[in-house]
C-alpha cells in the first residue's frame, strides 16, 4: 500500500480532490441505480399496499389538478396570443389550432406537468422520506423486517406513473382550450379553422411522443425525489437534521427539473 504524502502540493491536492469528487459521484449514481432497481422490484412484492397507492394517486394526481389547470390555461392562452401574433404576419391565422395543439401535446404538456408535479408533490415526497430517515422511521421498518421499498417507495412510484400521464392529458386539453379562448374568442380566429387545423396536424405519433415523455418524466421525478430523501444522510455537504432535509429537498427539485429538461431533448431527438 502506498503511504499518503505528508505535505501534498497544491496540484496534488487538486487532482486528489477531483478524483475524490469523481468517486463520490460514481458512488452516488450507483446508489441511486440500486434504489431504482429495488423501487421497481417492490412493485412485484406481496402484499402490495393498494390503499397507499390510492392515497398517493390522490396526493400526486388529484391534488395537483388545480395547479395543472391554471398552468395549462395560462400557457395555452399565451400560446394562442403569441401564435396569433406570429401567424397573423403571414396571414396564416388558420394554422393557430395546429401550432397550439402540437406545441402542447409534444412539448409543453409533458414538460410543464412534470415540473409542476416535481415542485408540488416531488418536494413533499422528498421531505417526507428524508424526515422518516433522520427520525429512524426507515430503520424501524428495516428492524421489523418490513421492506421499506415495498412499503414506502413503490406505491409512490406507481402513483406517479399513473398520475403524471393523466395530468399531462388534462394539461393538453385545458391548454388547447386556453389557446382556443385567446385565439378564437379574443382575437377572432375562425373556430372551425382552429379545430380543423388541430385535427389535420396532430397524428398518433405526436400523441405517442407526449405519452412516452410523460411516463419517463414521472419515473425521473419520483426516482430522484424519493431517492434523495432516502439517502439524505449520505449526501455530501447536506449537513445534519432538519437542515439536511431542507437542502436535499431543494436539491431534489432542481435535479429532477434539470433531468426532465435534458431527457425532453433526448427523447425528442430520438423519437421525433
Amino acid at each position: 500500500m502506498s503511504q499518503e504524502h505528508p505535505h501534498p502540493s497544491v496540484a496534488l491536492r487538486f487532482v486528489g480532490g477531483l478524483g475524490d469528487q469523481a468517486l463520490y459521484i460514481l458512488t452516488d449514481l450507483g446508489r441511486m441505480g440500486i434504489f431504482l432497481y429495488f423501487s421497481l422490484l417492490g412493485l412485484c412484492k406481496y402484499p402490495f399496499r393498494f390503499k397507499e397507492l390510492v392515497k398517493q394517486v390522490g396526493f400526486i394526481g388529484v391534488g395537483s389538478i388545480p395547479v395543472i389547470f391554471f398552468t395549462a390555461l395560462s400557457s395555452g392562452m399565451v400560446l394562442g396570443l403569441q401564435g396569433y401574433y406570429s401567424l397573423h404576419k403571414f396571414g396564416a391565422e388558420g394554422m393557430l389550432g395546429s401550432a397550439v395543439s402540437l406545441t402542447l401535446i409534444m412539448e409543453l404538456g409533458p414538460v410543464l406537468t412534470a415540473l409542476m408535479v416535481a415542485g408540488r408533490a416531488g418536494s413533499a415526497m422528498c421531505a417526507e422520506i428524508g424526515i422518516m430517515r433522520i427520525s429512524e422511521q426507515i430503520d424501524a421498518l428495516e428492524c421489523m423486517a418490513i421492506d421499506p421499498f415495498r412499503y414506502l417507495i413503490s406505491p409512490k412510484v406507481l402513483a406517479a406513473l399513473i398520475s403524471v400521464p393523466l395530468l399531462t392529458a388534462i394539461f393538453d386539453v385545458v391548454g388547447i382550450f386556453g389557446g382556443y379562448l385567446a385565439g378564437v374568442k379574443l382575437m377572432g380566429v375562425n373556430g372551425g379553422a382552429f379545430f380543423a387545423g388541430m385535427e389535420q396536424s396532430v397524428t398518433n405519433h405526436d400523441l405517442r411522443l407526449g405519452v412516452v415523455k410523460s411516463f419517463v418524466f414521472a419515473l425521473l421525478l419520483v426516482w430522484i425525489c424519493t431517492g434523495r430523501g432516502y439517502f439524505v444522510q449520505k449526501i455530501r455537504g447536506a449537513g445534519f437534521g432538519a437542515e439536511s432535509v431542507s437542502k436535499v429537498t431543494t436539491q431534489a427539485v432542481v435535479m429532477s427539473s434539470i433531468a426532465v429538461l435534458v431527457f425532453d431533448y433526448l427523447i425528442t431527438a430520438v423519437l421525433l
Binding site: 499518503e4 475524490d20 424526515i131 422518516m132 427520525s135 429512524e136 422511521q137 430503520d139 424501524a140 428495516e142 428492524c143 421489523m144 423486517a145 418490513i146 421492506d147 412499503y151
Partner: protein, 262 residues
C-alpha cells in the same frame, strides 16, 4: 470476560469487530477489535460516554451497519456476511425500542402498534385488534389508541415504541437510550415496564444507556466503553478494578468510583 456467558449460551457474539467512520484521510475508529457475548435470556447494559460507539453496536447487531472487520454472530449466524433475505429472517428475532421511539408520524398509536402484525403475520383484523388491545392495557395506553405520536408525551411515545417492539414476541429486544429525555418519574416507570415485560416474556435484553448508575440495577452483565476500550462486568462494583486504564478513568471521572471504595 463475564462469567455469565460460560453458563448461559450466547444470543449475540462480537468477535474482534472494528468499525470506523468518516471520509478518507479523516477516519475515526469507534470500535477497535471488540469482542464480547450477550447471554441468552439475560439483560446486558452497554454504557459509556457520548460518541463511544454504543449505538453503533446496536446497528451492527441489526445489520444496519457492516463492520470493517470481524464477526457479529446472532444465534450463531454472522450478520455481517448475510444477504438481504437472510438478514430479514434474523431481524424477525428482534424488537427494537429506538432512542426517539421512531414512531410513524402519519399513523395513530393503534396503527403503529398493529403495523408489525399487519405486515409480518396472517392474523385477521379482529385478532390484530384484540392483541393490540391487550398490549395497550398492559402498557397503560388504553384510551390513547386514536392519538398521533405528535400528541403524546415523551414517556408515552417510549411506551408505544415498547408495545410495537414486543408485538411479534421477539427473542431479543434492543433498547437504544430508553430513558433519554425523560424525567426521573418516567424513567422509573420505563424501568418498571421493562422488568415486568422481561419477566413475562423472557427475552434477551440489550440496553444502551448513559443513565449511569441507575441502569445498572437492571443488568445481569455490564459492558463499558470508553476511548476505544471495552470491558465486561457482572457487577457494577467491579468496574473500578478493570484492567483497562480508560475504563478505570471512566469509573473515576463519570461514576466517581475509585478502586478500594467498594
Amino acid at each position: 470476560m463475564s462469567g455469565t456467558d460460560q453458563v448461559v449460551p450466547a444470543a449475540i457474539r462480537f468477535v474482534e469487530v472494528s468499525k470506523s467512520f468518516g471520509e478518507r484521510g479523516r477516519r475515526h475508529r469507534v470500535l477497535d477489535q471488540v469482542s464480547f457475548s450477550v447471554p441468552k435470556g439475560k439483560t446486558t447494559v452497554i454504557a459509556g460516554g457520548s460518541g463511544q460507539g454504543k449505538s453503533v453496536i446496536l446497528k451492527l447487531i441489526l445489520g444496519l451497519l457492516r463492520p470493517d472487520s470481524g464477526q457479529v454472530l446472532v444465534e450463531g449466524r454472522d450478520v455481517a456476511a448475510m444477504g438481504y433475505r437472510a438478514l430479514q429472517e434474523v431481524r424477525m428475532l428482534f424488537g427494537v425500542l429506538f432512542q426517539g421511539a421512531a414512531l410513524f408520524d402519519s399513523l395513530t398509536v393503534f396503527e403503529n402498534i398493529a403495523l408489525p402484525l399487519r405486515e409480518r403475520t396472517k392474523f385477521s383484523a379482529e385478532e390484530i385488534r384484540q392483541r393490540v388491545g391487550v398490549t395497550l392495557e398492559q402498557l397503560e395506553l388504553a384510551g390513547h389508541e386514536e392519538k398521533y405520536p405528535a400528541q403524546l408525551s415523551g414517556g408515552m411515545k417510549k411506551r408505544v415504541g415498547l408495545a410495537r417492539a414486543l408485538q411479534l414476541d421477539p427473542a431479543i429486544v434492543l433498547f437504544d437510550e430508553p430513558t433519554t429525555g425523560l424525567d426521573p418519574v418516567m424513567t422509573k416507570e420505563i424501568y418498571h415496564l421493562f422488568t415486568q415485560t422481561q419477566r413475562r416474556l423472557g427475552y434477551t435484553a440489550v440496553i444502551v444507556s448513559h443513565d449511569i448508575p441507575q441502569v445498572f440495577t437492571l443488568a445481569d452483565q455490564i459492558i463499558l466503553l470508553n476511548k476505544g476500550e471495552l470491558d465486561v462486568f457482572t457487577e457494577a462494583s467491579r468496574i473500578p478494578y478493570s484492567t483497562k486504564p480508560n475504563i478505570r478513568d471512566f469509573a473515576r471521572q463519570v461514576m466517581g468510583l475509585e478502586a478500594g471504595e467498594e
